[in-house]
């Protein structure tokens, strides 16, 4: 046995000496990351499940492992998780990260930079910082969806549905959150183009179904027939509004709009119980965020080569209405479209352009 061990040790040593220079050469060309780290708000929502699915397709296609970190929208928790990963030594790691609020974005990207890792962020970027001016060696890109467009298109759909005249009520997510702010800017633009439509009241529903339901119930009691429509900044609150309207037999009569395009909302649009929702490509969100992080970490892309429009951009989205909802419901995402090689052909193929100034 001992002899066998010695022989095998000698063989290993010989091979190492022979292959050594070549292995060293390979290392210089940058090692491919074996793990992609993905931070999500919660695993208990369809949107985030689809983000995870998208990132998973990318990871699977390159033989890497996807590790998912959930925070329950608690930025401190993501902070601790990121700290633990980086503390274990994570130079050149690929992070697709969700900053739970704009307050945490800078801290996350700076930590990634200090740890020598690379990071893409989703949704939350404070107005004053960008990937090219903050932790610019580590922060590859920020990827989001156009909330102004969502607010505007849903607002115009509502205007049309109420015949251009009447009062609507607005369910706002959380104050000082870019998507919430953007959807409000978009709605106000729609109101300015549809002067007969007035905003009766705006309330903060914290993105939640139960809160959306309680507030809408109070609105029905307060405004009665005056309430012609409900503009909810996300699908969760829209579902709550629909539940409250259903209690009073008003569902379908008072149009409700949402944003996200989740499958249960699409079904309500199909049945006429909801008017519209902005369908975002959540699988694409996860896939592009993961693929860009992987591309830089593996050396396929150089951060320095990227233009600003490639580092802070919106992805495509479509307003779901009764006219196109059937196609949306029957569409099944094809894993091949989300593989790294497919996305690598042009990571920005489905970009809707650079995020403008003043919307975050």
């Amino acid at each position: 046995m001992k002899l066998l061990k010695r022989i095998s040790a000698a063989v290993v040593a010989a091979v190492a000496i022979a292959v050594g220079p070549m292995a060293g050469h390979g290392a210089m060309a940058q090692e491919k990351p074996k793990t992609i780290y993905l931070a999500v708000g919660t695993t208990s929502s369809e949107y985030w499940q689809e983000v995870i699915w998208g990132a998973e397709q990318v990871a699977n296609s390159v033989g890497a492992k996807l590790e998912v970190y959930e925070s329950g929208f608690d930025g401190q928790k993501h902070m601790q998780q990121l700290g633990a990963i980086l503390a274990a030594g994570c130079e050149g790691c690929a992070f697709a990260w969700f900053p739970d609020s704009t307050a945490f974005t800078k801290a996350f990207v700076e930590r990634a930079e200090a740890g020598g890792a690379f990071m893409t962020t989703m949704w939350n970027r404070p107005e004053e910082i960008h990937p090219w001016d903050t932790a610019s060696d580590a922060w590859i890109a920020n990827i989001s969806f156009d909330g102004v467009d969502s607010g505007y298109q849903n607002g115009m759909a509502l205007c049309k549905a109420i015949g251009g005249k009447g009062g609507i009520a607005v369910l706002k997510g959380t104050p000082d959150n870019p998507p919430s702010k953007q959807r409000e800017i978009g709605l106000l633009k729609a109101v300015s183009e549809c002067p007969g439509m007035t905003i009766l009241d705006t309330q903060i529903g914290n993105w939640g179904q139960t809160e959306g339901q309680n507030i809408t119930r109070t609105w029905i009691a307060r405004y009665g027939d005056q309430l012609k429509g409900v503009f909810a900044q996300n699908d969760g609150m829209a579902l709550g509004a629909v539940a409250a309207l259903r209690e009073k037999g008003l569902v379908g009569k008072v149009p409700v709009t949402g944003s996200d395009g989740s499958s249960d909302v699409l079904k309500l649009i199909k049945s006429g119980e909801m008017l519209s929702s902005m369908r975002i490509s959540s699988q694409l969100h996860g896939a592009v965020a993961a693929a860009l992080a992987y591309a830089v970490a593996s050396g396929d892309l150089k951060i320095g080569d990227l233009a600003q429009a490639q580092r802070d951009f919106y992805l495509v989205q479509t307003l779901a209405t009764k006219d196109n909802v059937d196609a949306m419901l029957s569409a099944q995402p094809n894993p091949a479209d989300f593989s790294y090689d497919a996305l690598k052909k042009n990571f920005w193929a489905r970009s809707k352009g650079q995020i403008p100034v003043g919307v975050n």
Binding site: E70, K172, I204, Q209, E247, S262
Partner: protein, 313 residues
């Protein structure tokens, strides 16, 4: 008269809102208030049994989602193939009961602080709920179940009547059974109760089991209201539940208060939120106003106790 503080606060609030907007006292709005109070009331009733013993249960925001998700994947729904009907309700309730009893056993028999035991249980149950969540929210297709929240009898849904009936039963348990009365005694002076030869632990476990079961019920009722299963549905249940009890005059140190007090506390909180929307208060200011009202209401309802004990913890 001394314990009338919370009721007076509630009436004062109603008068203020009614004078600001005539819509506030309309039948439709009163219905809206009662509908919104149903689920928090169920939580607060359960919480009261624990609080009067001088303990606390923080696990609600995990237990309610767990019951909610168990129910929605076991009843006829859009994601899984199960259709247990009323059996799904039984499973979800049993889960709440079991978690509550486990809370009580860990706290009473292992002598761990209820604050820590239930905090841990919150995380455990929320984690289980997240684990059970299928990749999309299950829409509940059982018409009878969703009808609990939809069909109105005299303008109110079955949820409101259920909450009222529960309050009545809980009140009887609290006043007429050993479980209720010994609970108060444990809160007032546990050592004395032990000296009297009472097996205190049984009553402690009982109180936590009731609380867990009712919290599970709250998760089930939420599912009936929103028509879908969602682990986030329990968010925001815990703080109003505890705050309602305290506003109503149930002391966190135990021994005082009761189910009816807590119900008044629930009505104070729900009426406040409703009234602020009705009167068009600035939404950004609403949280701050809520905080101020809670401080004022608690100060008003416990003033006489402070002077008597001269101790503030």
């Amino acid at each position: 008269m001394k314990s009338a503080g919370p009721i007076v606060s509630l009436l004062a609030m109603v008068l203020v809102f009614a004078s600001l907007t005539p819509n506030f006292v309309s039948a439709a709005n009163l219905q809206a208030i009662l509908e919104s109070a149903a689920v928090p009331a169920v939580v607060a009733i359960g919480m009261t049994f624990v609080l009067v013993q001088g303990s606390i249960d923080l696990s609600g925001e995990g237990v309610a989602p767990l019951a909610n998700i168990l129910l929605s994947i076991l009843i006829a729904n859009s994601v899984t193939a199960h259709d247990l009907g009323a059996g799904a309700i039984a499973v979800a309730l049993a889960a709440g009961l079991a978690v509550g009893a486990l809370n009580g056993i860990l706290y009473a028999h292992l002598r761990m602080p209820s604050l820590i035991v239930t905090l841990a249980m919150w995380l455990i149950t929320l984690g289980l709920a997240a684990l059970l969540f299928p990749s999309r929210q299950p829409q509940i297709l059982d018409g009878g179940f969703v009808g609990l929240a939809l069909h109105k009898h005299l303008g109110l849904s079955a949820l409101v009547y259920l909450a009222m009936a529960l309050a009545l039963v809980a009140f009887i348990v609290e006043r007429r059974t050993k479980l209720g009365r010994i609970g108060f005694a444990i809160g007032a002076d546990e050592a004395l109760v032990r000296l009297a030869g009472v097996n205190v632990n049984v009553y402690k476990v009982g109180a936590f089991a009731i609380c867990g079961c009712l919290t599970g019920l709250a998760g089930i009722l939420t599912a009936a209201q929103i028509g879908v299963g969602n682990p986030l549905a329990g968010e925001g249940l815990l703080f109003p539940g505890i705050a309602a009890c305290v506003i109503g005059g149930t002391l966190l140190s135990g021994g005082r208060g009761g189910v009816l007090h807590s119900l008044v506390g629930v009505l104070v909180l729900v009426t406040l939120r409703n009234g602020l929307v009705q009167t068009g208060a600035n939404p950004l200011l609403q949280k701050a106003i809520e905080g101020v009202v809670i401080v004022v209401a608690v100060a008003a309802s416990t003033w006489h106790l402070r002077r008597k004990t001269r101790v503030v913890k």
